[in-house]
């Protein structure tokens, strides 16, 4: 009978011997625990009431928690598989030496248990420290006061511990599966020799191109937010599959071509790089493709969430141009009720003077909102039972155009973001308006609203407005025709004053509407900009925060994948370099060869990620426009910036991990020197 603690000691010594592999793994485990803990904490409801937009934020974090669960599990599985692969021969040795499968399983259990213990302990501590930092960050994003310190609920700790326990158990099961289904002999043998370098496969390459093309095509084809939303997931899937296939077939073919190119191939640095690459291309390609995908995700998340937060004040300004906005919807049968507008204006003025305050920057707009189906031929209608999200769904905002925006009678100036919208005339029942496009700068108000439905902005003549309302009522049911009057003003006072002054307004205005209209459809809303703002800040800031957290996890995945690749290859190449040194290869030649080899594979994923980002741009821009972010040049700039910064960071990671490779390769050639 073995002494107690045998397996514990064996696993500890095994992990220490493989410290080069385990240290980074444990670090990433700690990071995952910390990140998960924080998001768990933020989703646990602690933000409600402690921060502006706390409710919105909690919803976002709950969503973020689910996303993280998925990614952390995948990430840990992926990196863990590298680890196991490196250790298979060691397990094989134990097995040959007579350890039973049960013994091996116990060993695996111990190892995963130890990583879990260390990871959880340090991760929770790190998480606790970072929760505070996260709260401060979120408070900044929502422009709210620093919330008081709050100790996380025990449930948060428990939830984190349980989640990672589950993941660790699965990891352990994976290790055992790999051990049990392989014989000892197979475990010990794991050299890549004995197989030919893979053949170039045109079918796979073609398939990869097709997938990539399909994904890119979907992105380029998206015309409006609705179609963008529908094709996003499919496009992402195509691109991922395409990337893997292309990296696989492409790199094999590249190696083939490079080998044919004699004057390139027979150069010291290229010679060694190309020939070793062509052998491990399959594994290599998978690593590179995952690096590429992860990098693309980081880039997309960061550039879009950053753009949202940079553009947020514009969004709020267009949606709520003044401190207080009173929106009144009239019955389409009545149309714009000027009398009522006057009455409401007086009501507000009276109320304000009663409160002893005065309004500034008073403004008003009349806007007819039409919701219906736009048919390709320029007609517009809505069947009462058509859903509002069906194909061709459209919202038209009609305003009275003044000054240079005043069109001819029976005409309208038009603007839309929809690329597909090409029509000269628009027909509502018995009225036809001819359209004339105007540039975007001329359009005031909400160009891209927080709506996923395509939008058209029209400017018509004063006298055409009532006619249009009547004509529209013939083809669109009442609820699709909404004459809206916005009355807005600033209150240059403390936020507290704004709140107390504006609060009773809603009730008073309702009162008046109810008195005046005994029947029909009418509506009212009073918005206080800052109140709405908080929700925006919470939504956009929360998404940025999640973007950063997920990027951190993805980045550490990139680091680990690169690092493990370098270490694995380092061990494989060690003997090769030793032979070459014996044949008279200089030390600095090894250095330059290694650098060459790194650079060759360095550019591929990042260039491809850049390409992905470029092709995803139209899709992202469309999706962002549903968040009110329609400044494309800014988005492009931010994407470019994110790409540049990411490339630098990536280069740094590659240098550091490349050094790990060089240390392994270089050190052993020193050993063979036996000085």
């Amino acid at each position: 009978m073995r002494r107690r603690g045998f397996f514990a000691r064996l696993s500890v010594s095994g992990m220490r011997k493989n410290g080069r592999l385990y240290v980074p793994y444990v670090f990433s485990f700690i990071l995952s625990v910390a990140m998960y803990f924080i998001v768990c904490y933020l989703a646990s409801g602690v933000l409600k009431g402690r921060m502006g937009g706390g409710y919105t934020m909690t919803t976002i974090m709950e969503f973020g928690r689910l996303v993280m669960m998925l990614f952390i599990a995948v990430f840990l599985f992926y990196t863990h598989s590298f680890l196991v692969r490196r250790r298979l021969s060691e397990y094989g040795l134990y097995s040959v030496l007579g350890m039973s499968r049960r013994g091996l399983s116990r060993l695996a259990l111990w190892e995963n248990g130890i990583v879990y213990g260390i990871g959880l302990a340090f991760g929770l501590v790190l998480g606790l420290v970072l929760t505070r930092a996260s709260e401060l960050f979120l408070a900044r994003m929502t422009r709210s006061e620093t919330p008081p310190i709050l100790w996380p609920d025990g449930r948060v700790f428990l939830e984190t511990a349980l989640f990672f326990a589950l993941v660790s158990l699965l990891l352990c099961a994976d290790t055992i599966r790999r051990l049990v289904f392989k014989g000892a002999r197979e475990l010990m043998r794991q050299k890549e020799s004995g197989e030919k370098p893979p053949k170039a496969n045109w079918v796979i390459a073609l398939l990869g191109f097709l997938c990539l093309g399909a994904g890119y095509g979907l992105s380029l084809q998206a015309r409006n937010v609705l179609s963008a939303l529908q094709s996003f997931a499919v496009a992402v899937l195509f691109v991922i599959v395409g990337t893997f296939l292309l990296f696989y077939a492409g790199s094999v073919m590249l190696c083939r071509l490079l080998k044919e190119w004699k004057s390139f191939y027979y150069r010291t640095a290229n010679f060694i790089s190309v020939s070793t690459m062509s052998f491990r291309m399959q594994r290599n390609a998978m690593g590179l493709a995952s690096i590429c995908i992860l990098s693309t995700m980081v880039l997309v998340m960061l550039s879009s969430t950053l753009s949202m937060n940079i553009g947020i004040d514009d969004v709020i300004r267009t949606r709520y141009p003044r401190d207080i906005v009173i929106t009144t919807e009239f019955d389409p049968a009545v149309g714009f009720d000027r009398e009522m507008e006057e009455k409401l204006r007086t009501l507000v003025a009276d109320h304000l003077s009663e409160e002893g305050v005065s309004a500034a920057n008073i403004a008003q707009t009349e806007e007819l909102a039409l919701t219906g189906i736009w048919h390709g031929d320029g007609t517009f209608s809505l069947n009462p039972d058509d859903s509002s999200l069906s194909e061709g769904a459209f919202v038209i905002y009609v305003r009275v155009g003044e000054g240079e925006k005043r069109p001819e009678a029976g005409c309208a100036f038009a603007f839309t973001l929809e690329a597909d919208f090409v029509t000269r005339t628009l027909t509502f029942g018995d009225m036809t308006v001819s359209l004339q496009e105007i540039p975007r700068e001329k359009v005031t108000g909400n160009i891209a609203s927080l709506s996923i439905v395509p939008t058209l902005h029209l400017y018509v003549r004063e006298e055409d407005m009532p006619r249009l309302i009547q004509a529209a009522r013939q083809v669109i049911p009442e609820e699709g025709v909404i004459p809206t009057w916005n009355y807005m003003f600033d209150l240059p006072y403390e936020e507290e004053v704004r709140r107390t002054v504006s609060q009773p307004l809603r009730e008073m205005a309702w009162e008046m509407l109810r008195e005046s209209y005994s029947q029909g459809r009418y509506g009212l809303a009073v918005y206080r900009g800052n109140e709405e703002r908080e929700d925006f800040y919470a939504l956009y800031g929360g998404l940025l925060y999640l973007g950063i957290i997920l990027s951190l996890i993805f980045m550490s995945a990139v680091v680990l994948v690169m690092y493990y690749r370098q270490v694995t290859e380092g061990y494989e190449d060690r003997e090769r370099y030793a032979v070459m040194r014996r044949l008279g290869m200089r030390r600095e030649m090894i250095r330059s060869t290694v650098n060459r080899q790194l650079r060759m594979v360095f550019f591929a994923p990042i260039v491809q990620a850049g390409l992905h980002l470029a092709f995803a741009f139209p899709l992202i821009a469309l999706l962002l426009s549903s968040f009110g972010i329609s400044n494309r040049p800014l988005l492009a700039l931010i994407s470019l910036l994110a790409f540049v910064v990411f490339t630098l960071l990536y280069a740094l990671i590659y240098r550091v991990t490349g050094n790990a490779y060089f240390r392994i390769v270089g050190r052993d050639s020193e050993d063979t020197q036996r000085f």
Binding site: S263, T268, L583, G584
Partner: protein, 263 residues
């Protein structure tokens, strides 16, 4: 052949009082693999080194090839003390002047035989056309023309060995160091390889070959016997035929195993 012990102007390589002590990391028992070994190699000589397993033959060859450094003593290659040359230059020396045929071939599994043979030339940045030109006659002589495109694991041990020889020959080295080149071969294949060695020797190539086989050694012009890290005897061909030399070697080996000291 200049079978003389005196140093002449044609001395390619000279070992002076070589000593090599292996100390293991934990310093338990230092092993003296070489002890006061001195000898000279004249241009055009064909020397065989014989000795029991563990007697220090590979160690000696490694030191001569500047892969390993002696604990004390000197190695002069073309009059230049290799033990004081910087590591960078050693690599160049090794690549350009020496052809080493390793005991275990040391072919790289990711290269075809052709590329394996080209490796030292690639390291010296020779043009591809020149490499191809140099390869042809050598590959032809060694009979590996039709397997050049294959990977090491796809060919027989003998073919691997011949590729390793080709890799040593292709740099037109001043000196060929071969560590048991026939070790992995059957009698027919080793006969072929030895014929090749004899042929290139006739063309003026200097060869230093470690071998266990008296048959192989009998092709050489001089035989050094090593035991426990010392050269304890050497034989000169003189006017002997291969067969006579073989008999002499055989006798020496018998004496050797009988444990009789002769110096």
């Amino acid at each position: 052949m200049a079978d003389t012990m005196e140093k002449t102007d044609n001395t390619i390589l000279e070992a002076k009082c070589l000593r090599r002590v292996y100390t293991s990391r934990f310093g338990a028992h230092p092993v003296t693999a070489l002890d006061n070994v001195s000898f000279a190699v004249t241009e055009g000589e064909y020397i065989a080194i014989m000795g029991e397993s563990g007697s220090g033959k590979t160690t000696l060859l490694n030191i001569l090839a500047a892969i390993d450094r002696p604990t004390s003593g000197q190695v002069l290659l073309d009059g230049r003390d290799m033990t004081t040359v910087s590591e960078q230059h050693l690599a160049d020396f090794r690549r350009e002047r020496l052809g080493y045929v390793f005991q275990d071939f040391q072919l790289l599994d990711t290269f075809t035989l052709r590329d394996n043979i080209f490796l030292p030339l690639v390291l010296s940045e020779v043009k591809p056309e020149t490499m191809e030109k140099r390869l042809r006659p050598i590959a032809e002589k060694l009979g590996i023309l039709d397997v050049l495109g294959k990977y090491p694991y796809e060919v027989s041990g003998g073919q691997k060995q011949r590729a390793a020889v080709a890799r040593a020959l292709i740099v037109s080295p001043r000196l060929i160091l071969a560590d048991e080149p026939t070790g992995a071969l059957d009698s027919h294949a080793s006969g072929q390889l030895l014929d090749t060695f004899s042929e290139i020797h006739r063309e003026g190539q200097t060869i230093l070959m470690v071998t266990h086989s008296a048959r192989a050694a009998s092709r050489a012009g001089r035989i050094l016997f090593i035991r426990d890290g010392r050269i304890f005897h050497q034989l000169y061909r003189g006017e002997c035929t291969d067969e006579q030399l073989y008999q002499k070697i055989y006798d020496t080996l018998t004496l050797l195993s009988a444990g009789v000291e002769r110096t």
